[in-house]
Subunit: 161 residues, 2 copies
């Protein structure tokens, strides 16, 4: 698997699974039903942020975006978001993207990485981030309207670098 910076022309391939994941509605508090063009700026980051794609046998199978979590006096802490093609789960794509983000964030001089809203019922993601060293700082109760479980909490997670 290769991980490389996304180009504008990659967006339609990312949107193919972005739109499925947002429609499933179990992992992201994002606007619903976004068109290709509406969603573009929600995922394709401009510097100092960055979007990457994971490529397997010439096909885009996952993506991550990363960059400062806040401007100004919070810009020394990074954040990131991840998408894996639902047809390719369980093959280490999320882990590879996570490790890539950690390496990039450290190289860019970030002092830590904060995830602001990890759905507490997304156990594979929570397990993965914990295995990469992230800690749950707290869980804001009933902040995510899950299509199956109703109102569930969102974890704030943090990794010092």
């Amino acid at each position: 698997m290769e991980i490389r910076t996304a180009s504008d022309s990659d967006w339609p391939s990312i949107y193919r699974f972005y739109s499925v994941i947002m429609c499933q509605g179990t992992t992201y508090a994002y606007p619903e039903g976004q068109t290709l063009e509406e969603a573009r700026s929600w995922w394709m980051e401009e510097p100092p942020g960055r979007t990457v794609v994971a490529v397997e046998e010439g096909e885009i199978v996952g993506s991550a975006k990363m960059g400062p979590n806040r401007p100004g006096r919070g810009s020394h802490v990074g954040t990131a978001s991840f998408l894996v093609d639902p047809a390719r789960h369980g093959r280490g794509i999320g882990r590879a993207l996570g490790e890539h983000v950690i390496d990039w964030s450290r190289a860019e001089g970030f002092r830590g990485i904060q995830f602001n809203a990890v759905v507490e019922t997304n156990s594979s993601a929570v397990r993965l981030w914990k295995s990469l060293g992230f800690e749950v700082i707290g869980t804001v109760p009933e902040t995510f309207d899950h299509p199956e479980h109703g109102l569930v909490g969102l974890h704030v997670m943090h990794l010092p670098l």
Copy 2:
């Protein structure tokens, strides 16, 4: 003191203390050195959000902005931010704005209010929000570069409605 919805023409009066507070740099991770026009969209909310001003003897002495903390499946939880003219601290303006935001959020049907980044050394704000029923869900360490204290934590605070 009157609290009313801000109009476009109020922005220069708000910016007068907005710019001072951002320059002091002790309470907000916002971009630094914003001009009047650069800062406008950072404070003046469009629906479904809303910006209000606190007015005392015809003068704007504070402001708050409020609205959904996240889109989509997180839009049932509100958030808010507050500014009080540094020349008018300790006169209950922040408390009046906080109570106004809670009343508005409840009336709008929000299920809770989340503050994402309360500087842990901002003890008057932390004390005020706790007195209004907010709880510290967790503190993300070393996420705010304080001009006097160096790297300090940011509280995530929450009030169920």
